[in-house]
Protein backbone atom coordinates (compact mmCIF):
# COMPACT_ATOMS: atom_id res chain seq x y z
CA UNK A 1 0.00 0.00 0.00
CA UNK A 2 2.88 2.36 0.81
CA UNK A 3 4.33 1.64 -2.58
CA UNK A 4 1.10 2.69 -4.24
CA UNK A 5 1.09 5.91 -2.23
CA UNK A 6 4.73 6.75 -2.86
CA UNK A 7 4.58 5.92 -6.56
CA UNK A 8 1.07 6.98 -7.51
CA UNK A 9 0.12 9.32 -4.65
CA UNK A 10 0.71 12.44 -6.70
CA UNK A 11 -1.18 11.04 -9.64
CA UNK A 12 -4.14 10.09 -7.46
CA UNK A 13 -4.16 13.48 -5.78
CA UNK A 14 -4.17 15.19 -9.16
CA UNK A 15 -7.03 12.93 -10.17
CA UNK A 16 -8.88 13.91 -7.00
CA UNK A 17 -8.29 17.52 -8.03
CA UNK A 18 -9.88 16.76 -11.39
CA UNK A 19 -12.81 15.09 -9.65
CA UNK A 20 -13.31 18.15 -7.47
CA UNK A 21 -12.96 20.48 -10.45
CA UNK A 22 -15.60 18.54 -12.34
CA UNK A 23 -17.88 18.47 -9.31
CA UNK A 24 -17.40 22.19 -8.78
CA UNK A 25 -18.28 23.08 -12.37
CA UNK A 26 -21.22 20.72 -12.28
CA UNK A 27 -22.53 21.99 -8.95
CA UNK A 28 -22.12 25.63 -9.91
CA UNK A 29 -24.30 25.28 -12.97
CA UNK A 30 -26.59 22.83 -11.19
CA UNK A 31 -27.34 25.53 -8.62
CA UNK A 32 -28.22 27.99 -11.36
CA UNK A 33 -30.38 25.46 -13.22
CA UNK A 34 -31.97 24.29 -9.97
CA UNK A 35 -32.80 27.83 -8.90
CA UNK A 36 -34.35 28.75 -12.25
CA UNK A 37 -36.30 25.52 -12.69
CA UNK A 38 -37.26 25.37 -9.00
CA UNK A 39 -38.72 28.87 -9.11
CA UNK A 40 -40.41 28.18 -12.44
CA UNK A 41 -42.25 25.32 -10.79
CA UNK A 42 -43.85 27.58 -8.17
CA UNK A 43 -44.88 30.34 -10.60
CA UNK A 44 -48.51 30.90 -11.45
CA UNK A 45 -47.86 30.51 -15.15
CA UNK A 46 -48.95 27.08 -16.31
CA UNK A 47 -46.42 27.14 -19.16
CA UNK A 48 -43.51 27.72 -16.77
CA UNK A 49 -44.63 24.94 -14.47
CA UNK A 50 -45.07 22.59 -17.42
CA UNK A 51 -41.59 23.27 -18.79
CA UNK A 52 -40.09 22.78 -15.33
CA UNK A 53 -41.94 19.50 -14.82
CA UNK A 54 -40.89 18.16 -18.23
CA UNK A 55 -37.25 19.00 -17.55
CA UNK A 56 -37.22 17.39 -14.13
CA UNK A 57 -39.03 14.25 -15.23
CA UNK A 58 -36.91 13.85 -18.34
CA UNK A 59 -33.62 14.07 -16.46
CA UNK A 60 -34.80 11.94 -13.56
CA UNK A 61 -36.08 9.34 -15.97
CA UNK A 62 -32.72 8.76 -17.66
CA UNK A 63 -29.72 7.10 -15.97
CA UNK A 64 -26.79 9.45 -15.76
CA UNK A 65 -24.51 7.11 -17.65
CA UNK A 66 -26.87 7.31 -20.62
CA UNK A 67 -26.98 11.07 -20.32
CA UNK A 68 -23.17 11.12 -20.27
CA UNK A 69 -22.87 9.00 -23.43
CA UNK A 70 -25.60 11.05 -25.07
CA UNK A 71 -23.92 14.39 -24.40
CA UNK A 72 -20.36 13.28 -25.07
CA UNK A 73 -20.95 11.14 -28.14
CA UNK A 74 -24.52 11.76 -29.22
CA UNK A 75 -24.70 15.52 -29.36
CA UNK A 76 -21.50 16.11 -31.38
CA UNK A 77 -22.60 13.29 -33.73
CA UNK A 78 -25.96 14.97 -34.20
CA UNK A 79 -24.36 18.32 -34.84
CA UNK A 80 -21.45 17.22 -37.04
CA UNK A 81 -22.83 14.25 -38.94
CA UNK A 82 -26.62 14.21 -38.89
CA UNK A 83 -27.10 17.96 -39.21
CA UNK A 84 -23.82 18.22 -41.10
CA UNK A 85 -22.78 21.50 -39.51
CA UNK A 86 -19.47 20.13 -38.34
CA UNK A 87 -16.70 21.54 -36.23
CA UNK A 88 -18.10 20.65 -32.86
CA UNK A 89 -15.75 19.11 -30.32
CA UNK A 90 -16.74 18.61 -26.73
CA UNK A 91 -14.03 17.91 -24.17
CA UNK A 92 -14.70 15.28 -21.53
CA UNK A 93 -14.56 18.03 -18.91
CA UNK A 94 -17.20 20.11 -20.67
CA UNK A 95 -19.46 17.17 -21.46
CA UNK A 96 -19.03 15.89 -17.91
CA UNK A 97 -19.84 19.26 -16.38
CA UNK A 98 -22.96 19.65 -18.51
CA UNK A 99 -24.04 16.16 -17.63
CA UNK A 100 -23.58 16.73 -13.90
CA UNK A 101 -25.19 20.15 -14.06
CA UNK A 102 -28.29 18.81 -15.80
CA UNK A 103 -28.59 15.78 -13.58
CA UNK A 104 -27.92 17.52 -10.28
CA UNK A 105 -29.88 20.59 -11.47
CA UNK A 106 -33.05 18.54 -11.84
CA UNK A 107 -32.76 17.22 -8.29
CA UNK A 108 -31.85 20.66 -6.98
CA UNK A 109 -34.95 22.08 -8.67
CA UNK A 110 -37.07 19.61 -6.74
CA UNK A 111 -35.31 20.47 -3.47
CA UNK A 112 -35.81 24.18 -4.10
CA UNK A 113 -39.45 23.76 -5.08
CA UNK A 114 -40.14 21.75 -1.94
CA UNK A 115 -38.20 24.27 0.14
CA UNK A 116 -40.23 27.18 -1.16
CA UNK A 117 -43.47 25.29 -0.66
CA UNK A 118 -42.50 24.47 2.92
CA UNK A 119 -42.55 28.17 3.84
CA UNK A 120 -45.94 29.14 5.26
CA UNK A 121 -48.01 31.00 2.62
CA UNK A 122 -48.70 33.61 5.30
CA UNK A 123 -45.15 34.87 4.86
CA UNK A 124 -45.73 35.64 1.19
CA UNK A 125 -49.15 37.12 1.93
CA UNK A 126 -47.81 39.40 4.64
CA UNK A 127 -45.08 40.67 2.35
CA UNK A 128 -47.53 41.19 -0.51
CA UNK A 129 -49.99 42.94 1.80
CA UNK A 130 -47.31 45.56 2.50
CA UNK A 131 -47.07 46.23 -1.23
CA UNK A 132 -43.97 44.21 -2.09
CA UNK A 133 -44.07 42.80 -5.62
CA UNK A 134 -44.03 38.99 -5.87
CA UNK A 135 -40.39 38.78 -6.78
CA UNK A 136 -39.25 41.12 -3.98
CA UNK A 137 -41.30 39.14 -1.46
CA UNK A 138 -39.77 35.91 -2.76
CA UNK A 139 -36.27 37.33 -2.61
CA UNK A 140 -36.42 39.07 0.77
CA UNK A 141 -38.79 36.87 2.75
CA UNK A 142 -39.57 33.44 1.29
CA UNK A 143 -36.25 32.33 -0.23
CA UNK A 144 -34.09 33.12 2.81
CA UNK A 145 -36.39 30.93 4.91
CA UNK A 146 -36.65 28.24 2.27
CA UNK A 147 -32.89 28.01 1.82
CA UNK A 148 -32.45 27.39 5.54
CA UNK A 149 -34.67 24.34 5.41
CA UNK A 150 -33.06 23.20 2.14
CA UNK A 151 -29.44 23.18 3.40
CA UNK A 152 -29.36 19.53 4.57
CA UNK A 153 -30.93 18.27 1.33
CA UNK A 154 -28.66 20.44 -0.78
CA UNK A 155 -25.56 19.16 1.00
CA UNK A 156 -26.82 15.63 0.52
CA UNK A 157 -27.26 16.33 -3.19
CA UNK A 158 -23.75 17.82 -3.36
CA UNK A 159 -22.36 14.61 -1.89
CA UNK A 160 -24.29 12.46 -4.34
CA UNK A 161 -23.07 14.61 -7.21
CA UNK A 162 -19.48 14.41 -6.02
CA UNK A 163 -19.75 10.62 -6.05
CA UNK A 164 -21.53 10.67 -9.40
CA UNK A 165 -18.42 12.15 -10.98
CA UNK A 166 -17.09 8.59 -10.92
CA UNK A 167 -19.70 7.66 -13.53
CA UNK A 168 -18.00 10.10 -15.88
CA UNK A 169 -14.99 7.82 -16.02
CA UNK A 170 -16.90 6.20 -18.90
CA UNK A 171 -16.32 9.19 -21.15
CA UNK A 172 -12.62 9.11 -20.39
CA UNK A 173 -12.31 12.05 -18.06
CA UNK A 174 -9.18 11.57 -15.91
CA UNK A 175 -10.98 11.75 -12.59
CA UNK A 176 -10.22 9.56 -9.60
CA UNK A 177 -11.85 6.28 -10.65
CA UNK A 178 -10.49 6.41 -14.15
CA UNK A 179 -7.00 7.09 -12.87
CA UNK A 180 -7.29 4.36 -10.26
CA UNK A 181 -8.20 1.87 -13.01
CA UNK A 182 -4.95 2.74 -14.75
CA UNK A 183 -3.02 2.31 -11.53
CA UNK A 184 -4.56 -1.12 -11.00
CA UNK A 185 -3.79 -2.08 -14.60
CA UNK A 186 -0.14 -1.15 -14.06
CA UNK A 187 0.34 -2.69 -10.63
CA UNK A 188 -2.36 -5.38 -10.25
CA UNK A 189 -2.75 -4.17 -6.67
CA UNK A 190 -6.47 -3.72 -6.76
CA UNK A 191 -7.13 -4.16 -3.06
CA UNK A 192 -4.67 -1.46 -2.04
CA UNK A 193 -5.60 0.95 -4.81
CA UNK A 194 -9.34 0.81 -4.34
CA UNK A 195 -8.97 1.07 -0.58
CA UNK A 196 -6.95 4.24 -0.98
CA UNK A 197 -9.42 5.67 -3.49
CA UNK A 198 -12.33 4.87 -1.21
CA UNK A 199 -10.58 6.56 1.67
CA UNK A 200 -9.92 9.65 -0.44
CA UNK A 201 -13.61 10.02 -1.29
CA UNK A 202 -14.54 9.43 2.31
CA UNK A 203 -12.22 12.14 3.62
CA UNK A 204 -13.48 14.75 1.17
CA UNK A 205 -17.10 13.93 1.92
CA UNK A 206 -16.58 14.02 5.68
CA UNK A 207 -14.97 17.43 5.32
CA UNK A 208 -17.93 18.60 3.25
CA UNK A 209 -20.32 17.41 5.94
CA UNK A 210 -18.43 19.28 8.63
CA UNK A 211 -18.58 22.46 6.60
CA UNK A 212 -22.32 21.91 6.17
CA UNK A 213 -22.84 21.61 9.91
CA UNK A 214 -20.99 24.86 10.52
CA UNK A 215 -23.03 26.58 7.80
CA UNK A 216 -26.28 25.27 9.27
CA UNK A 217 -25.41 26.62 12.70
CA UNK A 218 -24.46 29.99 11.27
CA UNK A 219 -27.81 30.30 9.51
CA UNK A 220 -29.93 29.91 12.63
CA UNK A 221 -31.86 33.11 13.22
CA UNK A 222 -30.84 35.30 16.10
CA UNK A 223 -27.98 32.98 16.98
CA UNK A 224 -25.11 35.39 16.53
Amino acid sequence: MLRIISTFGRLLLTAMGQTLLLALYGLFFACIIGMIVGIMSVLRSRACRFVAAVFVNLIRGVPMIVLAYFIFFGVPYLWNTILGVGGMTLSALHAGSICLALNCGAYMAEIIRAGIESVDVGQMEAARSLGLPWWRAMHRVVLPQAIRTMIPSIINQFIITLKDTSILSVIGFPELVNTAKNVVAATFMSFQTWAIVGLMYLIVILLLQRAAKVLERRLKYGAQ
Partner: protein
Protein backbone atom coordinates in the same frame (compact mmCIF):
# COMPACT_ATOMS: atom_id res chain seq x y z
CA UNK B 1 -60.52 64.82 8.98
CA UNK B 2 -63.50 64.92 6.71
CA UNK B 3 -65.63 62.06 7.91
CA UNK B 4 -67.83 61.60 4.95
CA UNK B 5 -65.38 60.63 2.24
CA UNK B 6 -65.78 57.05 1.16
CA UNK B 7 -62.60 55.06 1.80
CA UNK B 8 -63.85 51.67 0.66
CA UNK B 9 -66.73 51.13 -1.73
CA UNK B 10 -67.81 47.56 -2.43
CA UNK B 11 -70.68 46.77 -4.73
CA UNK B 12 -72.09 43.37 -5.62
CA UNK B 13 -68.86 41.57 -4.74
CA UNK B 14 -68.91 37.87 -5.54
CA UNK B 15 -66.24 35.29 -4.87
CA UNK B 16 -66.21 31.61 -5.68
CA UNK B 17 -63.58 28.94 -5.14
CA UNK B 18 -64.26 26.49 -7.95
CA UNK B 19 -67.87 25.43 -7.34
CA UNK B 20 -68.09 26.88 -3.86
CA UNK B 21 -69.73 30.30 -3.69
CA UNK B 22 -68.20 31.98 -0.66
CA UNK B 23 -69.35 35.56 -1.20
CA UNK B 24 -72.71 35.87 -2.89
CA UNK B 25 -73.49 39.55 -3.14
CA UNK B 26 -71.72 41.96 -0.84
CA UNK B 27 -72.23 45.69 -1.01
CA UNK B 28 -70.90 48.03 1.63
CA UNK B 29 -69.29 51.44 1.97
CA UNK B 30 -66.76 52.35 4.62
CA UNK B 31 -66.22 56.02 5.34
CA UNK B 32 -62.89 57.54 6.18
CA UNK B 33 -62.15 57.23 9.88
CA UNK B 34 -64.88 54.67 10.40
CA UNK B 35 -64.38 51.42 12.30
CA UNK B 36 -66.42 48.62 10.79
CA UNK B 37 -66.52 45.34 12.65
CA UNK B 38 -67.57 42.15 10.87
CA UNK B 39 -68.97 39.32 12.95
CA UNK B 40 -70.52 36.01 12.01
CA UNK B 41 -70.09 32.25 12.27
CA UNK B 42 -67.00 30.60 10.83
CA UNK B 43 -67.27 29.80 7.15
CA UNK B 44 -69.55 32.76 6.59
CA UNK B 45 -67.03 34.45 4.29
CA UNK B 46 -65.82 37.20 6.65
CA UNK B 47 -62.13 36.57 6.11
CA UNK B 48 -62.55 36.03 2.38
CA UNK B 49 -64.34 39.35 2.16
CA UNK B 50 -61.53 41.09 4.03
CA UNK B 51 -58.90 39.44 1.84
CA UNK B 52 -60.69 40.67 -1.27
CA UNK B 53 -60.20 44.24 -0.06
CA UNK B 54 -56.46 44.12 -0.78
CA UNK B 55 -56.77 41.50 -3.49
CA UNK B 56 -55.15 38.66 -1.57
CA UNK B 57 -58.22 36.98 -3.04
CA UNK B 58 -59.28 37.88 -6.54
CA UNK B 59 -62.94 38.90 -6.73
CA UNK B 60 -65.05 36.78 -9.10
CA UNK B 61 -67.49 39.62 -9.73
CA UNK B 62 -68.51 43.06 -8.61
CA UNK B 63 -66.49 46.15 -7.88
CA UNK B 64 -64.15 47.22 -5.08
CA UNK B 65 -62.97 50.83 -4.93
CA UNK B 66 -60.20 51.74 -2.49
CA UNK B 67 -59.87 55.51 -2.25
CA UNK B 68 -61.42 55.78 -5.68
CA UNK B 69 -59.21 53.16 -7.32
CA UNK B 70 -60.95 50.13 -8.75
CA UNK B 71 -58.82 47.21 -7.59
CA UNK B 72 -60.87 44.66 -9.51
CA UNK B 73 -59.49 46.30 -12.64
CA UNK B 74 -56.60 44.12 -13.84
CA UNK B 75 -54.67 47.20 -14.92
CA UNK B 76 -54.58 48.85 -11.53
CA UNK B 77 -51.24 48.78 -9.74
CA UNK B 78 -52.30 46.67 -6.78
CA UNK B 79 -48.93 47.06 -5.04
CA UNK B 80 -49.42 50.83 -4.86
CA UNK B 81 -52.85 50.32 -3.31
CA UNK B 82 -51.50 47.77 -0.84
CA UNK B 83 -48.93 50.28 0.38
CA UNK B 84 -51.84 52.30 1.72
CA UNK B 85 -53.88 49.39 3.06
CA UNK B 86 -52.32 47.67 6.05
CA UNK B 87 -53.31 44.14 6.98
CA UNK B 88 -53.00 42.23 10.24
CA UNK B 89 -53.34 38.46 10.14
CA UNK B 90 -54.65 35.90 12.58
CA UNK B 91 -51.30 34.12 12.66
CA UNK B 92 -49.22 37.32 12.73
CA UNK B 93 -47.02 36.28 9.81
CA UNK B 94 -43.96 38.12 11.01
CA UNK B 95 -40.99 37.50 8.77
CA UNK B 96 -39.16 34.78 10.67
CA UNK B 97 -35.84 35.49 9.03
CA UNK B 98 -35.63 39.05 10.30
CA UNK B 99 -35.37 40.84 13.62
CA UNK B 100 -38.37 42.85 14.77
CA UNK B 101 -36.73 46.06 13.58
CA UNK B 102 -35.98 44.64 10.13
CA UNK B 103 -39.58 43.40 9.91
CA UNK B 104 -40.71 46.98 10.35
CA UNK B 105 -38.11 48.52 8.07
CA UNK B 106 -38.39 46.15 5.11
CA UNK B 107 -41.27 47.69 3.22
CA UNK B 108 -40.51 51.37 3.94
CA UNK B 109 -36.91 50.97 2.77
CA UNK B 110 -37.78 48.72 -0.15
CA UNK B 111 -40.84 50.53 -1.46
CA UNK B 112 -40.77 54.09 -0.24
CA UNK B 113 -37.05 54.38 -0.79
CA UNK B 114 -36.63 55.75 2.69
CA UNK B 115 -33.02 55.89 3.78
CA UNK B 116 -32.22 53.33 6.44
CA UNK B 117 -31.66 55.82 9.22
CA UNK B 118 -35.06 57.49 8.78
CA UNK B 119 -36.76 54.12 8.49
CA UNK B 120 -35.00 52.94 11.63
CA UNK B 121 -36.07 55.95 13.67
CA UNK B 122 -39.58 55.60 12.35
CA UNK B 123 -39.68 51.91 13.20
CA UNK B 124 -38.38 52.49 16.72
CA UNK B 125 -40.99 55.18 17.28
CA UNK B 126 -43.68 52.81 16.07
CA UNK B 127 -42.41 50.06 18.37
CA UNK B 128 -42.59 52.49 21.28
CA UNK B 129 -46.21 53.16 20.40
CA UNK B 130 -47.08 49.50 20.74
CA UNK B 131 -44.97 49.25 23.90
CA UNK B 132 -42.19 47.04 22.54
CA UNK B 133 -39.16 49.31 22.39
CA UNK B 134 -37.06 46.70 24.13
CA UNK B 135 -37.79 44.05 21.50
CA UNK B 136 -36.27 45.78 18.47
CA UNK B 137 -33.48 43.25 18.09
CA UNK B 138 -35.47 40.18 19.06
CA UNK B 139 -36.49 37.58 16.49
CA UNK B 140 -40.14 36.61 16.07
CA UNK B 141 -39.66 33.17 17.65
CA UNK B 142 -38.53 34.89 20.85
CA UNK B 143 -41.82 36.80 21.28
CA UNK B 144 -45.14 35.86 22.85
CA UNK B 145 -48.26 35.80 20.69
CA UNK B 146 -49.46 39.14 21.95
CA UNK B 147 -46.09 40.71 21.29
CA UNK B 148 -45.98 39.23 17.80
CA UNK B 149 -49.34 40.68 16.96
CA UNK B 150 -48.37 44.11 18.25
CA UNK B 151 -45.23 43.97 16.11
CA UNK B 152 -47.38 42.96 13.14
CA UNK B 153 -49.59 46.00 13.70
CA UNK B 154 -46.54 48.25 14.02
CA UNK B 155 -45.15 46.77 10.80
CA UNK B 156 -48.30 47.65 8.91
CA UNK B 157 -48.38 51.14 10.44
CA UNK B 158 -44.82 51.88 9.31
CA UNK B 159 -46.17 52.20 5.77
CA UNK B 160 -48.47 55.01 6.99
CA UNK B 161 -51.60 53.32 5.66
CA UNK B 162 -54.94 55.09 5.27
CA UNK B 163 -56.85 51.89 5.94
CA UNK B 164 -56.17 48.96 8.25
CA UNK B 165 -57.66 45.49 7.80
CA UNK B 166 -57.68 43.09 10.75
CA UNK B 167 -58.33 39.42 10.09
CA UNK B 168 -59.24 37.85 13.46
CA UNK B 169 -56.22 39.48 15.10
CA UNK B 170 -56.82 37.95 18.53
CA UNK B 171 -58.11 34.49 17.60
CA UNK B 172 -54.74 32.78 17.85
CA UNK B 173 -53.81 34.38 21.16
CA UNK B 174 -53.85 33.05 24.68
CA UNK B 175 -56.66 34.78 26.57
CA UNK B 176 -54.35 36.85 28.76
CA UNK B 177 -52.77 38.42 25.66
CA UNK B 178 -55.94 39.50 23.92
CA UNK B 179 -56.17 42.69 25.97
CA UNK B 180 -52.83 44.14 24.96
CA UNK B 181 -53.63 43.75 21.24
CA UNK B 182 -57.12 45.19 21.57
CA UNK B 183 -55.61 48.12 23.46
CA UNK B 184 -53.42 48.99 20.47
CA UNK B 185 -56.39 48.68 18.12
CA UNK B 186 -58.55 50.81 20.37
CA UNK B 187 -55.91 53.51 20.27
CA UNK B 188 -55.80 53.34 16.47
CA UNK B 189 -59.55 53.73 16.30
CA UNK B 190 -59.40 56.78 18.56
CA UNK B 191 -56.88 58.57 16.39
CA UNK B 192 -59.19 58.17 13.42
CA UNK B 193 -57.79 55.23 11.47
CA UNK B 194 -60.18 53.69 8.96
CA UNK B 195 -60.50 50.09 10.10
CA UNK B 196 -62.26 46.95 8.97
CA UNK B 197 -62.04 44.29 11.67
CA UNK B 198 -63.11 40.67 11.48
CA UNK B 199 -63.33 39.43 15.04
CA UNK B 200 -64.99 37.22 17.59
CA UNK B 201 -64.38 39.77 20.34
CA UNK B 202 -67.93 41.00 20.85
CA UNK B 203 -66.89 43.35 23.64
CA UNK B 204 -64.49 45.09 21.29
CA UNK B 205 -67.06 45.23 18.51
CA UNK B 206 -69.58 46.83 20.81
CA UNK B 207 -67.18 49.31 22.35
CA UNK B 208 -65.01 50.40 19.42
CA UNK B 209 -67.07 49.65 16.34
CA UNK B 210 -68.88 52.52 14.62
CA UNK B 211 -70.82 49.97 12.68
CA UNK B 212 -71.23 46.20 12.92
CA UNK B 213 -71.90 43.88 9.99
CA UNK B 214 -73.30 40.44 10.60
CA UNK B 215 -72.30 38.01 7.85
CA UNK B 216 -73.58 34.53 7.24
CA UNK B 217 -73.48 32.27 4.22
CA UNK B 218 -71.72 34.81 2.01
CA UNK B 219 -74.13 37.64 2.64
CA UNK B 220 -74.38 40.62 4.95
CA UNK B 221 -77.59 39.78 6.78
CA UNK B 222 -77.70 42.73 9.10
CA UNK B 223 -75.80 45.92 9.71
CA UNK B 224 -76.08 48.83 12.08
CA UNK B 225 -74.55 50.62 15.04
CA UNK B 226 -73.44 48.24 17.80
CA UNK B 227 -76.37 49.13 20.07
CA UNK B 228 -78.82 47.99 17.39
CA UNK B 229 -77.04 44.80 16.48
CA UNK B 230 -76.28 43.73 20.01
CA UNK B 231 -79.33 45.31 21.65
CA UNK B 232 -82.16 44.50 19.30
CA UNK B 233 -81.08 42.38 16.36
CA UNK B 234 -83.89 41.96 13.82
CA UNK B 235 -82.61 39.03 11.76
CA UNK B 236 -83.27 35.65 13.44
CA UNK B 237 -79.87 34.33 12.34
CA UNK B 238 -78.15 37.30 14.02
CA UNK B 239 -80.14 36.66 17.17
CA UNK B 240 -79.27 32.99 17.06
CA UNK B 241 -75.57 33.71 16.56
CA UNK B 242 -75.40 36.30 19.33
CA UNK B 243 -77.21 33.98 21.71
CA UNK B 244 -74.51 31.41 21.15
CA UNK B 245 -71.50 33.69 21.55
CA UNK B 246 -72.59 36.13 24.24
Amino acid sequence: MERNRIAIHVSHLKKSFKQLEVLKDISVDVKEGEVVVIIGPSGSGKSTFLRCLNRLEEASGGEIMIDGIDITDKRCDINKVRERVGMVFQHFNLFNNMSVLRNLMLAPVDLKKQDRETARKDALAMLARVGLSDKADAYPHQLSGGQKQRVAIARALCMRPDIMLFDEPTSALDPEMVGEVLEVMRHLAHIGMTMVVVTHEMGFAREVGDRVLFMDDGLILEEGVPEEIFGSPTNPRTRDFLNKVL
